[in-house]
């Protein structure tokens, strides 16, 4: 028996979420009294693999033969083979585009029950019961998993990173290879920009900013904080801001440490995308704006006056 953690790499590098996943997997492995293994597919520098050892895997399986772009079937097959080799009773994914695409496939292969977007360790192991948010984050469901093997996907920024070194032997995973049935023809991406989904601090603004020409102060504030920028849906619909910034039920779902909502009314669909943030600050001129119900801290005031002052105060903080 073991816990297997699948780790994505981004152009050969691991991100914070990988260490979160390992910390989470390790905690569960300890509770169950079994070892934890990690799996990385695709090309990764040896020095990057070295960083994983700090977080407790007994072994780190690697294979970079043909794994340079994601083919769900091929990856799911490889992960399932690793799970079977180490008799994994639990496989952990990150709840993101890649984890979402793979977890269901691996679940079917391993005949395992899947619970996605969890944010804490199980409530109990026998029976195996774990909590997750349902009905667009309105309530928690306690999900009981009846199968011997289980699969979880962990929401980002929900589990504390814990250093817990283990052997971390890197081992080449022998695989039966399948031919990919999907092929990446072209890629179009920006690099070097702080990604909204990775950001720990987010400055977000809405229709209260009146128009795209007023976003300068939002960007300045974000820069002062080292934060990413986001917006409400109307702002991206209107073309004020790029679609990649739209957060909410129909946009990105994020969970930063700090979310500053400026001139955003706080519609339920917006809140659905940000309610897992650790701290929400609302700045709105309407004291009755629903955003204040979701916020931890609030200021009733005119954004055009408050933001520059806040920016100055933060520069000196």
């Amino acid at each position: 028996m073991s816990v297997l953690v699948y780790l994505e790499n981004w152009d050969g590098k691991f991100k914070k979420v990988s260490f979160e996943l390992l910390s989470y997997g390790k905690k569960i492995a300890e509770d169950m009294g079994v070892p934890m293994f990690a799996l990385s597919l695709g090309k990764v520098d040896a020095s990057e693999l070295e960083t994983l050892k700090t977080y407790g895997p007994e072994k780190i399986f690697v294979n970079d033969n043909g794994f340079d772009s994601l083919d769900n079937e091929m990856y799911a097959s490889a992960i399932s083979q690793a799970a079977e080799k180490e008799d994994a009773t639990l496989v952990v994914f990150s709840q993101d585009n890649v984890g979402n695409a793979l977890a269901g496939r691996v679940a079917v292969r391993l005949k395992a029950g899947l619970v996605s977007a969890v944010s804490a360790i199980p409530i109990s192991y026998d029976p195996f019961i774990i909590k997750k948010k349902v009905y667009t984050n309105k309530v928690f469901g306690h999900v009981k998993v009846n199968t011997a093997k289980k699969i979880l996907s962990l929401s980002k920024n929900t589990f504390e990173i814990i250093e817990n070194a283990a052997a971390g032997v890197v081992e080449e995973l022998a695989l039966d290879h399948a031919e990919p049935k999907t092929k990446v023809e072209s890629t179009d991406k920006v690099t070097g920009k702080l990604l909204l989904t990775d950001a720990e601090l987010v400055v977000s603004a809405g229709r209260g900013m009146k128009g795209p020409e007023n976003w300068g102060m939002i960007e300045e504030l974000a820069e002062t904080l080292g934060a990413a920028t986001a917006c409400s849906r109307p702002c991206s619909d209107e073309g004020w801001r790029p679609h990649t910034e739209h957060v909410g039920q129909t946009g990105k779902i994020i969970a930063p440490n700090l979310y500053i909502a400026i001139g955003i009314s706080g519609a339920i669909q917006h809140i659905g995308g940000i309610s897992n943030s650790k701290c929400i600050v609302a700045i709105n001129k309407d004291p009755d704006a629903p955003i204040f119900e979701a916020a931890d801290y609030g200021i009733v005031g005119d954004a055009f006056k408050v933001i520059p002052e806040l920016n100055e105060a933060l520069k000196n903080a």
Partner: protein
């Protein structure tokens, strides 16, 4: 090319949900086509209307008879026919298995699911369905096009997108970008929908992999702490020393 869209029947997302035990109290609940599935139907219709070579659009739902209103809405949008598997879709593996039976009984090139449903937020059915069928799959799909009779699928990645060519049949789990505004059924569509074929199929038996055993209400959030617009420093201090986030 034939397209099948998997449609989940969910409470309107602004519904204030109430439960008795683990059962959602359905009184006063407005049921809708899961928003992602609505956009998937919309995109399928756009492709059909553009003359790109879509012959037929089929809807498949796993649900009890009450879901037929939602299915008819999909038909009123413009889908051609529908299947309903007569069962309560309590678990993603159960649902995916039923959908796979519908798909195996027909002939489809593109199967679309939403990336998640607004009830159990399972993020599971699309992946499971593709694996049960042994089809390739693409997740985080933000565009579907037909170029020279071939499917071309955009997938969102960190900081951008990838354009993929795929072997068919393929399962695409769609998200933001797939279509902008959902198609609103017109009167004529609503009239026609009544006569479109809706076939009811019995469910096959499936082992229960997961079940919701309890619903827990989130803790009431502590009240917001307000600062005067003149006291920006107070806010900054709180963020620094109390919340420890900067």
């Amino acid at each position: 090319m034939n397209i099948l869209v998997c449609v989940s029947n969910v409470p309107d997302t602004t519904t204030k949900v109430k439960f008795s035990g683990t059962q959602l109290e359905t009184e006063g609940v407005q049921w809708i086509v899961n928003p992602w599935d609505e956009l998937a139907i919309t995109r399928a219709l756009e492709l059909k209307e553009s003359g790109a070579g879509v012959d037929k659009i089929t809807i498949a739902t796993v649900g009890l008879v009450g879901t037929e209103t939602t299915i008819r809405k999909g038909l009123a949008m413009g889908a051609d026919d529908a299947f309903r598997v007569d069962a309560d879709p309590t678990d993603a593996f159960f649902t995916a298995t039923q959908l796979a039976e519908v798909i195996k009984a027909g002939s489809y090139d593109l199967i679309m699911t939403g990336f998640e449903s607004a009830d159990y937020n399972g993020i599971s059915v699309g992946g499971m369905l593709s694996e049960i069928l042994g089809y390739p799959s693409v997740g985080a799909v933000s565009a579907v096009n037909i170029v020279d009779g071939k499917l071309q699928i955009d997938r969102e990645i960190d900081g951008g997108k990838e354009v993929l060519s795929v072997q068919t049949p393929v399962v695409a789990s769609v998200q933001k970008g797939i279509a902008i505004d959902p198609r609103i059924p017109a009167m004529r569509g609503i009239m026609m929908a009544r006569r479109k074929p809706l076939t009811v199929m019995p469910a096959v038996e499936v082992e229960v992999y997961t079940e919701v055993v309890e619903i827990e209400l989130p803790e009431a959030k502590s009240a917001v702490k307000m600062f005067d617009a003149e006291d920006i420093q107070g806010l900054v201090n709180a963020l620094k020393n109390e919340a420890n986030v900067i």
